[in-house]
Symmetry: C2
Subunit: 135 residues, 2 copies
């Protein structure tokens, strides 16, 4: 139960890197971990759960700033789930916006690429349209 992991072990288990864990500590996302006499960081299972929480949230694209809020809500037993959902939906909107932007680029790029034969001749619709049109 009381197993303590070094930063490398915690990194391996959580899927983060040791560097990320140190960064999260320095930026205040997680509390400073206790150290051995020689200065090695040690992580208990509670802190490991926090690290895995962070890893999962990063996988979903949440910013570290959002994750700070999520961690704080997670640890507050009197939270309102409304605030959590707001965060998630705001993030979802950003994702949708980003997808729409990328799809717009994709459409234009496909048209451009179609207008270029892609052979050994210099003639190329991509360059022509980048040079002239109002894309």
């Amino acid at each position: 139960m009381g197993t303590l992991l070094t930063i490398g072990e915690a990194a391996k288990v959580s899927g983060l890197t040791a560097k990320m864990i140190r960064n999260y500590e320095q930026s205040g996302l997680i509390r400073k971990s206790p150290r051995t006499e020689s200065g090695y960081r040690l992580y208990n299972s509670e802190q490991l759960n926090q690290l895995m929480f962070i890893k999962r949230a990063r996988n979903l694209g949440f910013s570290l700033s959002d994750i700070q809020s999520l961690l704080s809500l997670w640890q507050n037993p009197e939270r309102e789930s409304r605030l959590v959902k707001q965060l998630a939906q705001s993030h979802l909107e950003q994702i949708s916006t980003k997808i729409a932007e990328l799809e717009q680029m994709q459409q234009v790029l496909i048209k451009l690429a179609d207008s270029c034969k892609g052979d050994t001749s210099p003639q190329c619709g991509i360059l022509e349209q980048l040079a002239q049109s109002s894309i």
Copy 2:
């Protein structure tokens, strides 16, 4: 025909910022522009066309490094259009990959958000799943 623009005017016309134009010059993307006696940069129509080319390529999500290649191909009358098309298609692949990643996040996030009532109670499926599941 021989109109010369200051950096602020060139920025306005191209849609870039003066800061970006200076950065592009310093990073070697565009050549150093001529200056007035007092040191102000001046842009002629050819350089303005380059700036607009850059702006359009940025709007399509090309990196500055890609744009360096595109500019070089554009200015080389003996280019092979094949190389231009390769660049565009490689960029298209990156866009598709990014879209797929975002859509994956989107799907998971929608499920998570659905599992949270979003009211004034602390109970929240988003936090629960970030805390436990293997997302």
